[in-house]
Subunit: 428 residues, 2 copies
């Protein structure tokens, strides 16, 4: 049943085989532009992200793929010869962005996947394969990165995920339901994981590694351990004009000092990165002494124990600085994922197949890092001429983007060859 | 024509003479509550503020007052015997709030004015009088406090006012037009100012002065000089996970250090108050090194030259701290009003009439401070048991609120007596 011929009939002649990665990204270049911050703001379940998801569904349908959205909000576009969605090689990425992000973080992986599927169809590559579009990869709206893949793998409980709130105080349950999802059916999805023979994610590089190495593509070795914490410093809100300097319990003073201390502590720890990129005084009026300041903390280090020790130090400093101002501080973990080392055998086979491309670690988190615990997983990086990421200057040359898509197709072909030798599983 | 009898006929029997200040405030107690910050968020031209303005119009109409909104968006409710809107004693305040503000800052003055008008009608007090509701007194949405009174007096040009933007990037012109105002007709309004014989504003006290003095009411002596500046610190946005600590140009570090320096510099200057209550990292993502941070600065001092020198010092510190991080800083004045000393003769006559109530200065800005340069102006304060303002804990006992309204009626009666001895002016 699952011959290459019937597969080609099933997907139809790829009407879009002339598509390039740059051409596909050009189609969405106007969606979710942020005139204030520059770049793109495409938070999960925003109008912009919904427009992108609809665009993806159309592109997948044009290629004859079967498109459906699962109960965790992940879109799946299947090429399943004979309807057999098993032993599948899956690629995927995300369409949501950080606020004021670049054009490539996420969408490059999706556009490259569409072009790679065109290449595989042209080559007549057999077997089941799919493109997955995960939601809230950035965690920019609800605070927890890779929320879609965490839900599917059980790395976050549905109860906790549904109770997460955005900046407007709306719960993930509320927002997901308004987007047509059923919050009562979210959570671990072992069936979907069991269908995956392998997962490979292509992503724009978020540093200048490939510029220095002179290569358009690399294979990932590891993802740096990464967590997010929220520090709330509470004092006494009051009038900025009528309250004497000596009568204040101003949490902004402690928050300001803390931002500097976070940097100093991270600098003192080799290999550590710690950042405060989000900080919110409450209520946030110019003529108002804040009653509370929320400070979000991003900490990364190859060794999870060092990350934990650094965060503990930062928490102690927050308490001390708050006490100096008559304020109090609390520290809450929003998410943590330890350092991920991708399977070395798979990584080396891929690098060899792609022409001995370089191997690179990354400091950025990805759905591939979450899936790695459940499915043989690999990642590819495409060169970024500026090295900048999570900002409008993020870049990718058109020729590098095409090389990336070609490498993704080659990788999926290699993984399909491996998958086809795996024992058959009966249809469910 | 302008006898007291015809005046009473004109306004009708006050159907609402049983209203209390607390009762009136109770009617709007649910409008604009802020579940996230606590208290009230009623920014100018928001749904909440529009609801309050509609409530005021209804209350004024019930009292037989002629209500109209002028071209600068100020609502006027006139008691004008014989239709003569001249030589008028005016009271007024505002209905907009800071984010997460209390129930009394603004609305207490409006509710007290309505009750004072009931008392004056009962007493048969003659002459023209009006209640003015000014817009954007807090400057919480468009950055410039007392925007309505500044426009009317020419303290801000309409060009500058119309170009002000809110946090969503909408101009004041755009927002005002959507609220039914005509942006092309805003600006100085000498005719309206010429109709005012005197202006008196009642406001909740924004400190514990009256608690310590054991009095429900005070008369104001002065308003502390007050300005707002915006400091923008620009660096390089990038990825929080992939950018080494040593490769960063992070404006948050400079902003954090600046917040502490602002406090230290203000502490070193006797009588000065300097506050950072609003700070916005851009783009503001947890996993993003900010590309820019906007820091709003509120500085007050009795001597304008000291305020100027302090702001210059803070600006120099911002540049130095920014340079330390490879960043740059700019400082922009958003508004400035020098210290206002209210007319001492008027002030003393009022205090005597009210039973030798205490005299108090204030650190907070008010429309009365703007009007003082154009019209004989006075202010009354009503006791605030917590002393807290611009925060949900702001308070006012019901009996003090009634005493305040009574004092406002007495003050307007005294001012009406003075106005009636002024030379008559012909109708325009």
């Amino acid at each position: 049943m699952s011959t290459e011929h019937s597969s080609t009939e099933h997907t139809g002649t790829p009407a879009s085989s002339a598509d390039t990665v740059a051409g596909l990204l050009g189609q969405i270049a106007d969606v979710g532009r942020d005139p204030k911050r520059g770049g793109y703001s495409r938070p999960v379940h925003s109008d912009a992200e919904h427009t992108l998801r609809e665009w993806f569904r159309e592109q997948a349908a044009r290629r004859g793929l079967d498109v459906e959205t699962d109960r965790n909000g992940t879109i799946w576009a299947w090429h399943a010869p004979g309807g057999r969605r098993e032993n599948a090689v899956v690629t995927g990425s995300h369409l949501d962005s950080v606020p004021g992000g670049g054009a490539y973080d996420g969408p490059l992986g999706i556009a490259s996947a569409l072009v790679a599927f065109d290449r595989l169809a042209e080559r007549g590559t057999g077997g089941a394969r799919a493109i997955a579009v995960f939601g809230e990869e950035e965690g920019s709206r609800f605070g927890v990165a890779c929320l879609g893949s965490r839900l599917a793998t059980g790395a976050i409980s549905p109860e906790r995920a549904l109770a997460l709130t955005d900046a407007d105080g709306r719960t993930y349950a509320e927002v997901a339901e308004r987007s047509g999802l059923d919050p009562t059916h979210m959570g671990p999805d072992p069936d979907t994981l069991a269908r995956m023979a392998a997962f490979v994610e292509l992503h724009v590089e978020q540093g200048r590694g490939l510029v220095d190495l002179g290569s358009p593509v690399a294979v990932a070795t590891s993802i740096l351990g990464h967590g997010r914490w929220r520090i709330s410093i509470s004092g006494e809100g009051n009038h900025a004009g009528t309250t004497l300097m000596t009568d204040r319990r101003d949490p902004m003073i402690a928050a300001g000092a803390l931002v500097v201390r976070v940097r100093d502590l991270a600098r003192a720890e080799p290999g550590a990165r710690a950042t405060v990129g989000r900080l919110q005084p409450i209520p946030g009026g110019t003529n108002v002494i804040a009653s509370r300041v929320d400070v979000w903390l991003d900490v990364r280090h190859p060794e999870d124990a060092v990350t934990a020790a650094l965060v503990e130090q930062i928490g102690a400093e927050a308490s001390r600085l708050a006490a100096d101002e008559g304020c109090t501080a609390t520290l809450t973990e929003e998410s943590f994922g330890g350092t991920v080392d991708f399977d070395a055998g798979l990584r080396d086979r891929l690098a060899a197949r792609l022409g001995d491309v370089p191997l690179l670690p990354t400091g950025a988190g990805h759905d591939a890092g979450v899936l790695n615990a459940h499915v043989p997983t690999a990642m590819l990086f495409t060169r970024n001429p500026t090295g900048v990421s999570h900002a409008p200057d993020e870049g990718c040359e058109d020729t590098d983007a095409e090389a990336g898509a070609e490498a993704l197709a080659d990788s999926m072909e290699l993984l399909a060859d491996t998958a086809s030798t795996a024992p058959e599983r009966p249809l469910p």
